[in-house]
Amino acid sequence: MDLNKLSISTAPHIHRNTYVRKSMAIVVIALLPAFAVAVWQFGVSAVIVTAVSVCSCVLFEWLGCKYLLKKPCTLGDGSAIVTGLLLAFNLPSSMPLYQIVTGAAVAIGLGKLVFGGIGNNPFNPALVGRVFMLVSFPTRMTSWPAVGQMLAYTDATTCATPLYYVKGMVQGYGVNMSDLPTFWDMFWGRMPGCIGEISAIALIAGLVILLVTRTITWHIPVSILATVAVIATALHFASPDLFIAPQYHLMCGGLLLGSCFMATDYTTSPMTHKGMVIYGICIGFITMVIRLFGSYPEGMSFAILIMNAFVPLINRGCRSRHFSKI
């Protein structure tokens, strides 16, 4: 044995085998139940939108690394796949192809690469893409196909989502509450909405996977959901005619998808547990304000993006507590 071939480095000499690719793989696995429900409810269109979104995100990441950053390609970490999946999960299943590709280009390009690639982006890339699409293609982005049209794509018949009823009650534009999906329909995912957000049970299963594998901690999802639940319960009890019951708030729209998968994005969320809780509470609060009083039907994306901007400030204010001060 040639001793001069032994490597010399400082401690520690072993690694726990946590790596970015592994975290991303777990996120993809955790998103699979929601994808399965989407295919079950929206049929082939869910597959098309997801596939196009993922493929174009991967393509733009590759192009961006090669020609924009001129750095070694970072496709291997799998973050482009996660961005593509999350972008698709935030779109109605009837989005035309060119719009998805545009959204993916913005998500990867403007959302991530212009800042220097993974780890440097201040805003969640998938949400940057989504909000860009929301303001660019407002009609398509706010018309949701009804469930059960297995073969329809851009020609699917659309209908109102539960959030329409939520806002309708508050703003008094006369909605027929008997059309609201039942609790169990929402729970299993038999309601109109974006591809990945319809099934509460699938998203909760994903959250459990993330928590059990310790990919994320409970702080962000629980604080967002708790804030929404508290506000919704208080308002509902104050005036049941104006405000819908809290369980509908928790299960409709992008709340679960956003709080489990989008707000918990490593790069754009705070570093300490205390910071995470503050961040979560603010997201929950802003979401409820937009849902009830804003002009957009759903406020989750905006709430997360707004709070992303505050993350550096939160990190500055909420420090890790030193050992001598436990």
């Binding site: 044995m1 001793l3 001069n4 032994l6 490597s7 010399i8 480095s9 400082t10 401690a11 520690p12 000499h13 072993i14 690694h15 726990r16 946590t18 790596y19 970015v20 592994k22 975290s23 970072t74 970490d77 220097g116 690639g117 993974i118 780890g119 440097n120 901690t217 490593y266 790069t267 705070p270 570093m271 300490t272 420090r319 890790s320 507590r321 030193h322 050992f323 001598s324 001060k325 436990i326």
Partner: protein, 450 residues
């Protein structure tokens, strides 16, 4: 069973304790033993023998003359060959005493040493006499830090001691030297604890043992069944529980303030089990510190073992006893894989602080290429000192020493939790060490000016 643990940070690392069922085996007495003069924290010892002098096993060969220093004794019987430079762990060479064994003669020990195995648990000495014996025997902390034990046992004025914590945690993966010692010599360790309690004047003591050593926990519980003032504290398996501050927090829920405060300021003295055993040998048997238990192990080592070996033996010889260096070895470590130091020169002698030699395969020891920080906060969660390693590393990379100092870089214990948990393989601790060095220098400069 309730398992306690410390409150802040820490990580779980795979155990890999391949030698946990191996009994302690003796290895051959080396033909040449090398004793570096500085194998402890503090001033180097001063040689008190000349080349050509005959020494016996246990003869004092170098004296710790200043307060913060330790005596060194010969571990073999023979002739002092030379006082010359010997290789050290940091790659440099430092003065050491070389002793050649007298192969013709039968091994002769210093007459005062009692070599019988009988247990002597009565001790009628006064605390001063006990500490004097510990100092004479050259005992240092055998957990790896090598802090002179007699210094630790004389707490500063104003510190009221009430407890002794015996560290049987051994949270480093791979190492089982303390574990095997606890199983083989529980009675001696308990006698040693009583001696220490007497010397320190404390009424309570605790033995902290991690959950991955259930046999040691059971054995000490059985032996201490009727004993009220020595308690076994089972601890959850979590690295770095063997760190002094973490252990005090885990056992007594007390936190040691930032330096210059020491554990004595919260009324506690922490000693490693191997040190306690050495204290028993020194006080009851007049036996100086001339040998210790060392684990030689690795994923593909032929015969991973716990050896009891004379100090001064070369690392090479220890590895040969365990079956030689496997082909796939990428790194040879002095100490455990979390805090140990790598070596290339295997002529380095085993010293008082050698608790293990770990031969890591290349696949385990090779560092992955560094990627962007994704701000996942895993390092913040892992840091047992409550620091934010990603910030410290960034400050170091920016040469921003002011921020580094403000962020508490000097309280880092260099446990390596941050770096070994980073999913982007960033060399966080490398940056922190570099920065600690710089900031330490700046602080010293400032104190001189004052």
């Amino acid at each position: 069973m309730i398992f306690k643990t410390f409150r802040k940070g820490g990580i779980e690392v795979p155990d890999n304790k391949m030698t946990k069922d191996r009994q302690i085996e003796p290895v051959q007495i080396p033909d040449i033993a090398v004793f570096p003069l500085s194998q402890h924290i503090g001033a180097p010892a001063v040689p008190c023998v000349q080349p050509g002098d005959k020494v016996l096993v246990g003869t004092l060969i170098a004296k710790g003359e200043s307060f913060m220093s330790a005596n060194i004794h010969s571990s073999i019987c023979g002739t002092v060959k030379k006082i010359d430079k010997a290789p050290c762990l940091n790659g440099a060479y430092a003065p050491a005493i070389y002793i050649e064994r007298d192969k013709e003669r039968e091994e002769e020990w210093e007459p005062a040493i009692d070599r019988s195995e009988t247990l002597a648990d009565e001790c009628s000495l006064s605390p001063q006499e006990i500490i004097g014996k510990i100092k004479d025997a050259g005992i240092v902390g055998l957990g790896g830090a090598c802090f002179p034990t007699h210094v630790k046992m004389m707490p500063p004025k104003g510190a009221e001691l009430d407890s002794l914590i015996v560290n049987g945690v051994e949270c480093e993966p791979y190492l089982t030297a303390d574990h095997s010692l606890m199983l083989a010599h529980s009675a001696e360790i308990i006698a040693g604890i009583r001696i220490m309690m007497k010397a320190l004047g404390v009424s309570k003591s605790y033995i902290g043992i991690e959950a991955n050593k259930p046999d040691a926990i059971a054995l000490f519980r059985k032996e201490l069944k009727s004993c009220k003032n020595i308690k076994v504290v089972p601890l959850k398996k979590k690295y770095p529980q063997g760190g002094e501050k973490q252990l005090i927090d885990a056992v007594l829920h007390r936190r040691v303030p930032n330096p210059p405060a020491i554990p004595a300021n919260v009324g506690v003295v922490v000693e490693n089990v191997a040190t306690v055993y050495a204290i028993y040998q020194a006080v009851q048997k007049n036996r100086p510190l001339i040998d210790r238990v060392v684990t030689v192990t690795g994923n593909s080592v032929a015969r991973p073992s716990n050896f009891i070996s004379r100090l001064g033996i070369s690392v090479n010889l220890l590895i040969e006893n365990a079956g030689g260096i496997p082909e796939d070895t990428g790194k040879i470590l002095h100490g455990g894989p979390m805090m140990g130091k790598p070596m290339r020169n295997l002529e380095i002698p085993m010293t008082k602080g050698t608790s293990g030699i770990v031969l890591l395969p290349e696949t385990v020891s090779t560092r992955q290429p560094e990627q962007n920080c994704i701000r996942c906060a895993m390092c913040v969660e892992a840091c047992p000192m409550g620091l934010e390693p990603y910030l410290l590393a960034q400050a170091a990379a920016d040469s921003d020493w002011e921020t580094a100092e403000k962020e508490g870089i000097m309280t880092c214990i260099e446990c390596g939790c941050c770096q070994s948990t980073c999913p982007s393989f960033r060399p966080l601790l490398d940056w922190v060490r570099y920065s600690k060095n710089k900031v330490g220098g700046i602080i010293r400069q400032r104190n001189i000016k004052k």
